[in-house]
């Protein structure tokens, strides 16, 4: 009984911590601002989708090579797994670059001052 209380308490703490992290965006008043924000959201979504698509293909190729290598030579699995993890992290970083651009577009848009000020 005590374990479930502890888990629920921990999750409640996490909810409290996380709920105040939402950045309050400024409420757009003009229709140009709404149009701008909607186009920015579309751009971010399409960008991330293309990046995730490419990352999926590339990491799948990497894992295929690693599995074939391990199946041919199970003794070298330590080195193969090290090279695999490193390669996956490098490929993942390409999607992370796209994520950073998307975060900039959504939360730190450099054209914000032209739209909201109008």
């Amino acid at each position: 009984m005590k374990k479930s209380y502890r888990m629920m308490g921990f999750t409640a703490i996490l909810v409290l911590m996380g709920s105040s992290m939402l950045l309050a965006a400024e409420a757009p008043a003009s229709p140009e601002a709404i149009r701008f924000f909607s186009w920015a959201a579309v751009a971010a979504g399409i960008g991330i989708a293309i990046a995730a698509f490419g990352t999926g293909l590339a990491q799948g190729n990497g894992v295929r090579g690693a599995c074939e290598g391990i199946s041919r030579n199970p003794e070298a699995s330590g080195k193969i797994i090290t090279a695999l993890i490193l390669g996956l992290a490098m490929i993942e970083s390409l999607a992370i670059y796209t994520l950073v651009i998307e975060l900039i577009l959504l939360y730190a848009n450099p054209f914000l001052k032209y739209v909201v000020g109008a």
């Binding site: 911590m17 709920s19 490193l86």
Partner: protein
């Protein structure tokens, strides 16, 4: 409280009020000290970086003071980590790479502890801001070139030319851009992974706060350890690439 409820917010306000009383006559002379603790929401990455640095130093001091032949728990864990790092370093850079072990080990341990600390509610990982990551990446960038120049002299810059001397007008800009892309990619990779997992956790907590964050927390721990490993491994590969030029 744009980064959530942090322990710093509970400590900084009373401490800043306390310091205001003491520093009252000094603040008139030094107006730049006005926001020392009360503005700490603007530089939480610095505060938490110092926090994790103090934790690392305390861990090291506690281990070394009671060092034994049959290790206790803390000494055992640190021995596993340090010996694993040392084996990785010798595999990647060879035996003469041990002179760079302090830098690599410090980078790995600091990034590991900083990433993992951000998962704990109330703490914030300084690697989730671009300032800390850019600092570490710039250190690595200058380190690789200084090591190359120290080992090879001025002939180190001949490798920018490439294999054929008449391809120099094409190779030199490409090589320069490639070298400048290294600290950028190091920064962005670490920042994107750690800040991204913060944001994903926020979104999941808003949507389904019960039980679903648990696999996300497991993924956060995995990517934190992995990113520390990747940063230090890339540093090792850059340094070994600068050491073994054009032989």
């Amino acid at each position: 409280m744009e980064h959530g409820i942090l322990l710093l917010n509970f400590i900084a306000k009373p401490l800043s009020l306390f310091f205001e009383q003491i520093l009252e006559p000094l603040r008139a002379a030094h107006p730049g000290w006005a926001g020392f603790l009360s503005d700490s929401n603007h530089y939480i990455q610095v505060v938490y970086m110092w926090f994790y640095m103090i934790i690392m130093v305390l861990m090291a001091m506690l281990t070394v003071r009671g060092i034994k032949m049959i290790p206790g728990r803390l000494q055992n864990v640190l021995e596993v980590v340090i010996s694993g790092l040392k084996n990785l370093l010798i595999d990647t850079m060879g035996e003469h790479g041990m002179q760079f072990f302090p830098l690599i080990a410090t980078l790995f341990l600091f990034i590991l502890i900083a990433n993992l600390g951000g998962i704990i509610p109330g703490l914030y990982s300084p690697t989730a801001s671009m300032c800390t990551n850019a600092g570490m990446a710039i250190v690595v960038f200058f380190f690789t070139h200084i090591v190359g120049v120290r080992i090879h002299g001025m002939k180190y810059f001949k490798h920018f030319v490439g294999p054929l001397w008449w391809m120099a007008p094409i190779m030199i800009p490409i090589e320069i851009i490639g070298h400048l892309a290294r600290p950028l990619s190091l920064t962005m990779r670490l920042f994107g992974n750690i800040a991204g997992e913060d944001l994903v956790l926020v979104v999941i907590l808003v949507l389904v706060p019960f039980l679903v964050p648990l696999p996300m927390l497991g993924l956060m721990i995995f990517t934190s350890v992995l990113q520390a490993f990747v940063f230090s491994l890339l540093t090792m590969m850059y340094i070994s690439g600068a050491m073994e030029e054009a032989h």
